[in-house]
Point group: C2
Chain length 139, copies 2
DNA sequence: TTCTATGTGCAAATTAATTGCATCTAACCC
DNA sequence: GGGTTAGATGCAATTAATTTGCACATAGAA
């Protein structure tokens, strides 16, 4: 995705366009996978951004729905661009990650909500699989 | 579940039966819902257990498959007895939690794994829904 | 009962995330 | 373009969550 699009994306969500934000979005978009705050911070060597600003901007992007927060049981949250909805399988031994498309959650929501007493809408979900990758399962 | 069963459960997994472990299991079993380490620790007033031991025992129970770890986006992991497989809907505003049964993940695994290049088995998964409860959505 | 592998508590260290505050700047106005 | 201001940033310090080290205690086996 081009820089110009990040510009538009930010404006559309009422966020100011700053170098820090463009740099964070650029890193997140380039790395096709979930990154922790720390990893994003390390990847910003061309445009150094304080780790606090990384936290604060991820929070802002999250609120705007531009990124998704993912818990891969690594001790800290990971983040990913929100477009191209998908989920992950994580190896509990070596940590290797594989994406998979075709989220089964969307389709199941109506059924789940119809049975719910307290809720009538769902805006987000977590759905990650954990197991052993082929490599680790043969060791 | 009775105390005797926790005894058996622990032995079956090669874990020593101690007061601390029985107390933690008892708390987790009594509260029908996910609890954070801190919450479990606070609930152990009758049989005080150091918070470090709570951490260590939850880790042991987790390894034994006796409890499940759940991320409800509260800043710290929550834990729940592993029996009665189910998932949760969480209100992003007030934090109210509702369980739902009928996990759709199990049924979808075969399909997901058949498409996977790196994985051939999955031992666990996360699946939680986030939205506004009826109360919060009318405010 | 004695022995040993495990478990426990306390203190301290690490790591993750948040907050306060002075300074800076993007975006809006003229 | 220059002035204004709400919002963004960096740095320092704090708080919260989790882990580690170590001496002592104890469950369970012999």
């Amino acid at each position: 995705m081009g820089k110009k699009n990040f510009n538009i994306m930010l404006r559309e969500h009422g966020l100011k366009v700053t170098d820090a934000r463009l740099a964070i979005l650029s890193v997140l978009d380039a790395v096709h996978g979930p990154m922790s705050t720390e990893e994003i911070h390390r990847a910003l060597k061309k445009t150094p951004v304080d780790i606090v600003s990384v936290y604060r901007n991820l929070e802002a992007f999250l609120g705007a729905g531009m990124v998704r927060e993912i818990d891969l049981r690594r001790g800290s949250s990971c983040y990913e661009m929100a477009h191209n909805h998908h989920h992950h399988i994580v190896c509990v031994k070596c940590g290797v990650i594989e994406k998979f498309d075709g989220c089964i959650v969307e389709g199941a929501l109506t059924g789940i909500l119809s049975k719910s007493k307290k809720f009538k809408s769902v805006s987000d979900h977590s759905f990650e699989l954990f197991g052993l990758c082929k490599k680790c399962s043969t060791l």
